[in-house]
């Protein structure tokens, strides 16, 4: 297990380094220097010179790359072109909002998705199964930001039940909880569909396996077979997909946060992109890639714990 963990984490670190390098290369590959792009055509030469010096763009490329890596490793992701605030501070300020949104969205989707999946297994082959199948695919197909807009229209504007903007007042749990409901609903609905289908498929596969027959042959109760013998295997693909899903959740968060003007990574990066605020875009991308790799690696380690066959593949 330890060998496996070390290998898996090492792989994540290598990927992160490659990504950092690629990001940096991209900025230099395109014509025009980042400073003029950020400031626009009407910038005064003095302003430009000042920004170039501040971003360290006057130094030789290898020094810049070195500085970038060295700073990033120390947690310094650069400074906002406009506000001059450290990028990492801005990220850490809004990241909890995005994290809460993602966890709440995945959480309710997991509960409902697993329940619907199990329901489809119990009623397999019936009209209920077919209806759930169509419902799941539809949920997968509808873009989350359209759901966000529609729910904003209905629940915030027309019915006025829930707030239309923001993440709630800091320190006020009630208002924060109310603010997360609609965005989490919009993001989670796709995942209800995915999980329902995934759980249905893997449960059906596992319940047909020989060892389930053995457990029945030894008179174990159906409830015990499902919870101890089947679910543990059926949950493996779900954990794997949830981790990948975190990347997808981030994508929807970018749009949905904007719809609800909810402070978060999504609103941070979109406004930075519009303003060509390089350090913020690159810092955020790097941070989220690292976070994403962390989640995926953690999921792999969890899978290795759940499935002893996986860790042996890496041992040998």
């Amino acid at each position: 297990m330890l060998t496996y963990a070390v290998k898996r984490i090492g792989l994540a670190v290598v990927i992160l380094f490659t990504v950092m390098l690629a990001m940096y290369a991209m900025v230099f590959l395109v014509p025009g220097d980042p400073a003029s792009l950020a400031l626009g055509p009407r910038a005064t030469p003095a302003l430009k010179a000042e920004l170039i010096a501040r971003m360290g763009l006057d130094q030789p490329v290898q020094v810049q790359v070195w500085n970038f890596f060295a700073n990033a490793l120390q947690g310094n992701l650069g400074y906002d072109v406009w506000s001059k605030k450290p990028v990492l501070d801005q990220i850490l300020e809004v990241f909890p909002n995005t994290l809460i949104l993602g966890v709440v969205a995945l959480g309710w989707a997991l509960v409902l998705g697993v329940a619907l999946g199990c329901l489809a297994v119990v009623w397999r082959g019936t009209l209920v199964d077919t209806a759930l199948g169509i419902l799941s695919v539809s949920m997968i197909a509808v873009p989350s930001f359209v759901i966000a807009l529609y729910s904003l229209l209905v629940f915030a504007v027309w019915l006025n039940w829930l707030p239309a903007v923001g993440a709630g007042t800091p320190g006020d749990w009630g208002s924060q909880a109310r603010a997360v409901i609609l965005p989490a609903f919009a993001i989670g609905i796709t995942w209800v569909g995915y999980l329902a289908r995934l759980v249905r498929a893997s449960m059906l596969e596992v319940m047909g396996a020989n060892h389930i027959r053995t457990a029945r042959a030894f008179g174990l109760s159906e409830a015990r077979i499902v919870t101890r013998y089947a679910l543990r295997l059926a949950i493996i693909p779900t954990v794997a997909i949830l981790a990948v899903g975190f990347g997808a959740i981030l994508s929807s968060a970018v749009f949905v946060e904007t719809v609800f003007s909810r402070p978060g990574i999504g609103t941070l990066i979109t406004s930075a992109v519009a303003k060509r605020n390089y350090p913020v875009v690159m810092g955020t991308t790097l941070f989220m890639t690292a976070f994403y790799l962390f989640v995926v690696t953690a999921a792999d380690l969890i899978i290795a714990r759940l499935d002893p066959r996986v860790r042996d593949v890496f041992r040998g």
């Binding site: 457990a215 042959a217 030894f218 109760s221 295997l233 759940l306 002893p308």
Partner: protein, 314 residues
């Protein structure tokens, strides 16, 4: 004392009539063999014997274990008998155990009806593993199935079935997945076990050699029917049914000298969705005649020996 009494058991999967009226018995302390080609319905029979037919199977007839009819009982009552009064050694030991639980966890689970603390169940499991000849049982209990060899898995499967000391033990092809040396070892083990196992044992196999080594009595099956039954001696030395004779002729142990290739029975099983109205073996039988188009009688040759054929004389 009769432990198992099967009468006129019929099982079909949709249009496929896998079992067409099989009857058999097994007494305590007895080892009974069931032989036949692949697809003749052996596994179907075995799963009915432990009260666990496939969900899509339609079952009629009686399967009485210690006087209780598994076919008529409700599922909850059947479940109470499974793993307690009847147990099974499955055909494929690789997939028969759960891959993500250790052997120990599963063996403890299988004793769920025993009112005993977990530690005691573990100790019983270890003792049974030692009994079936697994070296270092304590270590084996902590292992996952993919960490055990084929032979070890098969021993573990046998140990699992014996844990609750069932009245009826059914072993479906206990040696088929193994190589020749392993097969010999498992047969040796089963022979040893029959000394101190007091219940009935039913061994399902397509290998006559296994039957000869282990069994007291034999049922020969063809296309979902029992075509001949008798003591092991009677079947091996005085086979009456043409199908049994053909099976014995194909058995390597019965062929003297060297041959280019092993003989096989020409032709194949009839279509089980529309079995012939007369003798099911007629299409492949060297002795078939016009009368074989009507169902053959079951002819008693001795109190223990009977065959289902027009040509057999008492």
């Amino acid at each position: 004392m009769t432990v198992l009494n099967v009468t006129d058991l019929r099982i079909s999967y949709g249009p496929v009539q896998a079992l067409r009226g099989a009857s058999l018995t097994a007494a305590a302390g007895e080892v009974v063999g069931i032989v036949g080609e692949s697809g003749c319905g052996k596994s179907t029979l075995a799963s009915a014997l432990i009260g666990l037919p496939a969900p899509e199977a339609r079952v009629s007839g009686r399967v009485e274990v210690e006087g209780r009819d598994l076919v008529a009982l409700p599922e909850t009552a059947r479940r109470a008998i499974r793993g307690d009064r009847v147990a099974m050694v499955f055909q494929d030991p690789m997939t028969a155990f759960n891959p993500v639980l250790t052997l120990g966890e599963q063996l403890v689970d299988f004793q769920h009806r025993l009112p005993a603390p977990k530690a005691e169940k573990r100790a019983r499991a270890a003792a049974m593993l030692a009994r079936v000849g697994l070296p270092d049982p304590q270590l084996a209990l902590r292992r996952y199935m993919h960490e055990l060899s084929g032979g070890m898995r098969q021993r573990a499967a046998i140990a699992a079935a014996l844990l609750m000391r069932p009245a009826l033990l059914v072993a479906d092809e206990p040696t088929t997945a193994l190589d020749v040396t392993m097969e010999a070892q498992i047969i040796h083990l089963l022979r040893e076990l029959r000394q101190d196992h007091h219940g009935a044992i039913v061994i399902v196999t397509h290998h006559l050699g296994v039957v000869g080594e282990l069994c007291d009595r034999v049922y020969v099956m063809y296309a979902g029917e029992v075509v001949e039954e008798g003591t092991t001696d009677e079947i091996h030395h005085d086979p009456r049914h043409p199908y049994t004779r053909a099976l014995i002729a194909c058995d390597p142990a019965h062929i003297a000298g060297r041959v280019e290739r092993l003989p096989t029975i020409p032709g194949r099983l009839p279509d089980l969705t529309a079995p012939p109205p007369g003798c099911a073996f007629a299409a492949r039988c060297p002795q078939a005649g016009p009368d074989c188009a009507v169902p053959p009688p079951r002819v008693r040759v001795s109190p223990t020996h009977a065959a289902l054929c027009h040509r057999v004389r008492p």
